[in-house]
Subunit: 407 residues, 2 copies
């Protein structure tokens, strides 16, 4: 391999370096709002009117001018003229004058002249009159137009992931369809002479883990994954598999090649593809050093380590953010502060991911580092997320506050 | 309505009261492991062997008896007899004697007699001999059988949600298929004369939010939701809709009826169904007081408030946990400690959910309470989760540590 390709990069700054070299023709499609959960918005949406767009009662009761019932009490009930008994969804067609009241159900329209609603429990109807037994403050038991969502407020942002919580705001405006980005198609290839898919494994062989974890993690981010199985450590076979996967997907992620020999197959295979180029050849990252990023005809190819922990983390924290930035999707993760329960040594000049277990005790969020080798697989299920030890840190001391990223 | 049904309950203890009254015939099905993400395991799985099941090299290097190279250095290289050059997946057929070495690639099998692997960078091959230029500690650059996952360890538990992290452990054993619980079918009905689905809404009418948020939240928990649209406030129409939804689903969730009148339709409709019975008629919970839980022919019916915030939270924190307990699914949520930034008053005798925004600053997790009315919808998108103010609390003081449940 030519020395000029030996580009080892920090994670920071990587996107700026790689983004200009590839394209994803993502496009958009319309989906019904009930099927939009987990998809990424392709449109900005702003509140087209106030929510509620009328003065809304929070109780079953009588809409009043609060000044009318000042000082009302059981021994001093105030009589008001009952003008109407509104049902839900109905509004009072007339002007509510002083001394008048209308019944409004919970969620119903309070006449715009009224400024409070007295709960039905504190009133008594006698023929055409309502006796109010309780004083009430202005604005009590009602919400005003715009109290929930103000006209003009942004309720969906391009690139944002759609959740059930956001659907609540969108449906307040009667929205039935959303424009979302098309799902990104990702081809997944596992390489390695040591790999078997199922059945009995000879001594020294192992089952393919990475193909499946990358597949599963892809669905979590709403990609459409396609698994191309296990390819032997053979440059030509790898090249053929890459060609096929590239033609059928937006990006291709390959794993395997932890040893120097097989690592080289990945690199040469990419270089021999049409307009093939290796851009990154190693990361200052642990686990994740043996990471290759390349392109062929401006399609992204990621070559990840064969080690399960390494390929999982690099896929999650390097490849997905890269693809998201290219497509203007917002890469959202959940970070919290937590106190570390043990010293974590680290080598300066290399960023490090440490899997941790979140333990809540005595009012504190603590994180226990789970020391591991990149060849481990079981560690992922044991942890709740990970800490990032910065590039220039020599480690973290027990008791320090760290940012912990939850799975 | 008969007074005997006026059962107002605390959230705690509710499941014990309601569980005996309904059934869900959940059943199980087999899925390919790559399609199992988000499903709930219907089988316990234990490690059938050690992972790795051989002594595994973490580097490209020479497997040695560490005692042989004690004191080795550039000025004092130790020669060893090269017996074989192993490829990935291959193992050494013979016994590795003292003074001997074999080359092992990263991920390859270290002969069981060797106790360390010297990286290739610190060795030089001369014909049949390897000169080792560096001392090495026992167990360096290798992992032993079982270091990753021990034989017998539980790697999947009945009821557990399957994630990409857990798939890593499962695939270590070559698992291709999993037994999971069938997806629960949930019928969703929105009721209320004030509701419209889309198009122009007359003044005083509002768009149905709850049908869609419950639908979206259901997919998040891997239910199969089916939306039956908006039903007018009419006992017979509600009864017919319930009958249809009950016949086609495992459970039915209805929302609407925040005013006393429509609340009564829900109750009477349930009571008039075949073997219909209302079990819970209100919760000591805010938002969520107007919650009805009933059954018909031992199928669960939940009648939630028409208020978006209320129906969303009660569905998430009362109905889903109830269904999960019935089906032996593990209801997992993510809670952290956070410091509250404002006083939160609360009424004793009523549990309260307060939506909050998580803000990380100065090494602290803080949560800003977003005060709201149960009729609000926009609040869900503004918050990151919620605090539960206990039943007997009179509120939380600014600066107190609280448990915050993330969405």
């Amino acid at each position: 391999m030519d020395k000029k390709y030996l580009v080892v990069k920090k994670r920071k700054g990587l996107n700026k370096f790689v983004l200009p070299a590839f394209d994803i023709k993502i496009g958009t499609e319309d989906v019904k709002i009930e099927n939009s959960t987990g998809r990424y918005a392709a449109e900005n949406i702003y509140a087209s009117f106030d929510i509620p767009n009328f003065k809304k009662s929070l109780v079953d009761g009588f809409a009043v001018h609060s000044g009318d019932v000042r000082g009302a009490s059981p021994s001093n009930p105030v009589p008001l003229k009952l003008k109407a008994t509104l049902k839900i969804g109905e509004s009072y067609g007339d002007t509510l004058k002083k001394g008048e009241t209308v019944f409004v159900p919970t969620g119903g329209v309070v006449p715009k002249e009224a400024d409070a609603v007295v709960m039905i429990e504190f009133c008594e109807i006698q023929g055409n009159e309502v006796f109010v037994y309780r004083d009430i403050a202005k604005n009590e038991n009602l919400i005003k137009a715009g109290d929930d969502i103000k006209k003009g407020a942004q309720i969906l942002k391009i690139g944002e992931k759609i959740t059930s919580e956001k659907i609540a705001s969108l449906r307040a405006f009667g929205i039935k369809k959303l424009s979302v980005y098309r799902k990104i198609r990702i081809g997944i290839i596992s390489t390695g002479d040591e790999l078997v898919d199922s059945g009995k494994a000879e001594f020294g062989k192992i089952y393919d883990i990475n193909g499946y974890t990358i597949f599963a993690e892809s669905t979590k981010w709403n990609f459409i994954p396609r698994y191309y199985g296990i390819i032997r450590d053979d440059k030509n076979l790898i090249k053929e598999a890459l060609k096929k996967a590239l033609s059928e997907n937006d990006i291709v992620v390959m794993s395997g090649g932890t040893s120097k020999g097989s690592f080289d197959y990945t690199v040469s295979a990419i270089e021999e593809l049409k307009n093939g180029k290796v851009l990154i050849h190693g990361l200052h990252l642990s686990p994740g050093k043996p990471t290759v990023i390349g392109v062929s005809e401006r399609k992204l190819i990621a070559g990840l380590s064969g080690n399960p922990l390494s390929s999982f983390l690099v896929f999650k924290k390097v490849i997905i953010p890269l693809v998201f930035e290219k497509c203007n999707l917002i890469y959202e993760t959940r970070e919290i502060f937590a106190e570390i329960t043990e010293n974590v040594p680290s080598r300066k000049g290399r960023e490090e991911f440490i899997i941790g277990k979140l333990i809540l005790k005595n009012g504190k969020n603590t994180v226990k580092p789970l020391f591991s080798e990149s060849a481990f697989s079981g560690i992922l299920a044991k942890g709740d997320g990970f800490i990032v030890v910065p590039l220039m840190s020599e480690g973290i001391k027990k008791g320090e506050k760290v940012k912990f990223e939850l799975w």
